[in-house]
């Protein structure tokens, strides 16, 4: 009992009346020892983040509150602790890092100032001492030029640097427990690997217990000692990482693990030689324009897509993979003519669609359609689902009757009830909306589907369903697909060929299996090496 840092027992967290369920977290029992990493895994809405907030006494009161149970931290029940005591504990004995390092830092305060606050509230130190200690901390988290970073504002740092600064802040007073709430979800895979390494190094030095909240089983496999799996506010399975990941008992855990895409590419499919779309030396730059009256310096210049040449064969899925800012989304938008590229050719049916004007482009719009990343932002909230789907064909000259009949058909194809036709997008979940988005894209009977991160906003089990749906549709409608993703696991399972992008350039193309087996470019090798959970994958594959 005494050697446990933290013991949560029979914890119930109540949601406000009228919510989907009464309790956000129900009968939760968790233990954490010093130096241990406990991962809480679950999909969105499982109550994992609220558990962390409850621990910090940071539930959004009065709507959400601890109903019963105890949170014992070093022999003290935190649910009974008064606010001043909680404030003492927060930041010094239990500290926390968050998912989105941009919004989690105050945009108008320097990094130094924000780290300084921790000392100011918890330690008796002179100003120069505090400053010295803050610089040391920034050095510890391996930020370059700590003195300069002290005076920098959050927007001047990259995402990874911001998260390092957050970690420096959280570790400032060597807390006994570090709570990390999806700290790497918003980061690129190579940055994620660095941050995970940093957290485990820091943990080794400070012997703190880490409560790591994530939805990513790859990350769990790499860092966890023990795992707690949550669903709808209840713990469905607890155990050592080996037990939970390799011999899961609960059907939900089994299903979750089964839906994690494997890193081992699926068997290659027979490929057609017929090219349906080809891009030759596509260029796209942003900015660079002159300012008002030509006075002053020209604006910032970004070369988003640099000399990109690629071809898409009939019936295949070409994956474009890369980290954020690599230009993959811009490339997709150029190809579908949502953006005008600066130069190059985009050949569709032997016609360079790059050169077409708006009216000339219209008949070609039916041939190439897009599925967007964010299923919440990409559907107009004021238009009914049926209209969203049938609008495209109506614009193209189809009669309303036919278009609507086709829309109903499509809803069925993407696995939605026909009653969805007369509903608004907000009535659907994320996965269902993505199905609507796919139906909308299919309404014009396209030959080519451009999917821009279609599953990255979805939970892993939903992700698996959507990928399956895309696969089915591709088979039955003989679609060719350009699939943009940052997730190499997804790419391995979906794409026949891959194009790896960095800084607007394609650094490597080839069959998926080949690239995974023997990557040629050093960047591809770095990317592959950074994917979490590789040992686990190999273990499963035997």
């Amino acid at each position: 009992m005494t050697d446990k840092l933290l013991q949560i027992s029979k914890l119930d967290i109540a949601l406000p009346e009228g919510s989907e369920r009464d309790l956000a977290v129900e009968d939760l029992n968790i233990e954490l020892s010093p130096g241990e990493t406990l991962c809480i895994v679950g999909e969105s809405g499982s109550g994992k983040s609220l558990t962390a907030r409850a621990l910090m006494g940071l539930l959004p009161a009065p709507h959400v509150r601890v109903k019963k149970g105890t949170i014992t931290f070093c022999g003290e029940d935190l649910t009974q602790a008064a606010e001043p005591r909680m404030r003492q504990i927060r930041g010094s004995e239990i500290s926390m890092i968050f998912q989105e390092p941009m919004t989690a830092l105050n945009p108008v305060m320097t990094i130094g100032g924000q780290i300084d606050e921790v000392f100011r509230y918890h330690a008796e130190m002179s100003q120069s001492e505090r400053r010295k200690r803050a610089i040391e901390l920034l050095e510890d988290v391996q930020l370059p030029d700590p003195k300069q970073i002290m005076a920098a504002y959050p927007h001047e740092l990259s995402g990874g640097q911001r998260q390092r600064a957050m970690i420096a802040m959280a570790l400032a007073l060597e807390p006994k427990i570090l709570i990390a709430d999806e700290p790497t979800t918003a980061l690129d895979v190579t940055t994620q690997a660095q941050i995970l390494k940093l957290i485990s190094e820091m943990q080794a030095v400070h012997k703190s217990g880490v409560l790591f909240i994530t939805h990513d089983f790859g990350v769990v496999a790499d860092i966890a000692d023990r795992v707690v799996v949550m669903q709808y506010g209840r713990v469905v399975e607890t155990g050592t990482v080996d037990k939970v990941l390799n011999k899961p008992k609960h059907p939900y855990t089994k299903a979750l693990i089964a839906s994690v895409p494997s890193l081992i590419p699926r068997a290659p499919r027979p490929r057609s030689e017929q090219i349906v779309l080809s891009g030759d030396k596509i260029q796209k730059t942003f900015g660079g324009g002159k300012s008002f009256f030509g006075l002053g310096k020209p604006n910032r210049f970004v070369h988003a897509v640099k000399d990109v040449t690629l071809d898409l064969r009939s019936g295949e899925t070409l994956g474009v993979v890369g980290e954020s800012g690599s230009g993959k989304s811009t490339l997709a938008r150029c190809i579908i003519r949502l953006l005008d590229s600066d130069s190059g050719n985009i050949m569709l049916d032997n016609i360079d669609i790059r050169a077409l004007n708006r009216a000339e482009m219209r008949p070609f719009r039916t041939k190439i359609q897009m599925v967007f990343q964010d299923p919440f932002a990409s559907l107009n909230p004021r238009i009914k689902v049926g209209q969203i789907i049938s609008q495209g064909p109506i614009i193209q000259g189809e009669s309303r009757q036919n278009a609507e009949a086709r829309a109903r058909e499509l809803l069925e194809i993407v696995g939605l009830d026909e009653r969805a036709f007369n509903r608004y997008p907000h009535e659907f979940s994320g996965g269902q909306r993505q199905r609507i988005g796919i139906a909308r894209a299919l309404a014009l009977d396209p030959e080519i589907l451009v999917a821009d991160e279609p599953v990255s906003a979805l939970d892993v089990s939903i992700q698996a369903q959507i990928l399956e749906l895309l696969d089915e549709i591709r088979e039955s409608m003989n679609l060719s697909m350009l699939f943009i993703t940052h997730d190499l696991r997804v790419a391995a399972q979906v794409c026949d060929r891959l194009a790896v992008m960095r800084y607007g350039e394609i650094v490597e193309t080839g069959a998926t299996g080949e690239i995974f087996k023997s990557p040629q470019h050093s960047y591809t090798r770095d990317l592959l090496a950074a994917v979490p959970g590789q040992k686990w994958d190999r273990k499963i594959a035997g």
């Binding site: 910090m56 940071l58 404030r87 003492q88 504990i89 927060r90 930041g91 010094s92 500290s95 926390m96 968050f98 989105e100 919004t103 989690a104 830092l105 105050n106 945009p107 108008v108 305060m109 606050e117 921790v118 509230y121 918890h122 504002y153 927007h155 957050m166 802040m169 008002f292 009256f293 006075l295 002053g296 310096k297």
Partner: protein
Amino acid sequence: MNRSSKIIRYVSRRLIQGIPIILAIVVLNFFLLNLAEGDAVDVLAGEAGSATPEYMEEMRKKFGLDKPLPVQLAVYLKNVIQLDLGYSFRHDMQVTELIIDRFWPTLILMVSTILLAVGFGVLLGLFAAINLNTWKDSMVSVFALITYATPLFWVGLMMIILFSIKNDWFPTSGMENSAMFYEGFERVKDIAHHLVLPTITLSLFYLALYTRMMRASMLEQYGQDYVITARAKGVSERRITFVHVLRNALLPVVTMAGVQVGALIGGSVIVESVFAWPGLGMLAFESLFARDLNLLLGIFLLSSALVVAVNLVVDVIYCFLDPRIEVN
């Protein structure tokens, strides 16, 4: 290049860019004003009671009103570039002299109004946000709603009745008691005494606006992630409010205040009329009816220059408040 020299460069560039903007406004105003029927000669003749058409022609010739519009515009522009705003035949004075004379009262009124409206608006909004959903919050909201919905002129008249006639606390009109020939500090005190009612009247509407904006802005910022981070660091609620949230919440209020300075000049016409405040607003109002276009154009020119200048000041303030805004 360091920040301050960057800002100096930015300001000088913006000032240069302001010149064509102001000239364009002058041209536009010139044609807009000439759309109205009648000219200064018609008004003068009408007031005199009788004037022969020949005499009117002669007057037009003397004032230069007989020439075609484009020529009149060219002459006017040429004069404006030489900083000569022309002559007001109505007042028998140089326009420049007249305007500058009336500019100071308006400036005093505007500055005190902005300070009062923004200052108290921010404080009240802050107060309401801190005491969210309590009776204090409701009181502020009700106050804001009432002042927001009450017409300016009515407030002015009621203030005069209440504070000048029923209780002889403040003077009813004018800017100073010229019969007393105050000098130095005594004069400042006298003007301040006269300033109270017009300032309160003019600022009430804006005060309500900024109060509501500040409250909403504070509440929005309270919901941001960085507030949770600060709480997770164990920072006190007091410091979260006054250090973290306040500065972020001020940004939209400052933007709004900058945009509204122009509207304030318009609003001051009513207040200056009600309180007989000898400012530009009243002068503009009079010269409009006298068809004194030279004077009117001069006032418009000064107002547009003022708006351009205030926008620049707001932008510079903004880049000190928000480090994400870069001047270049």
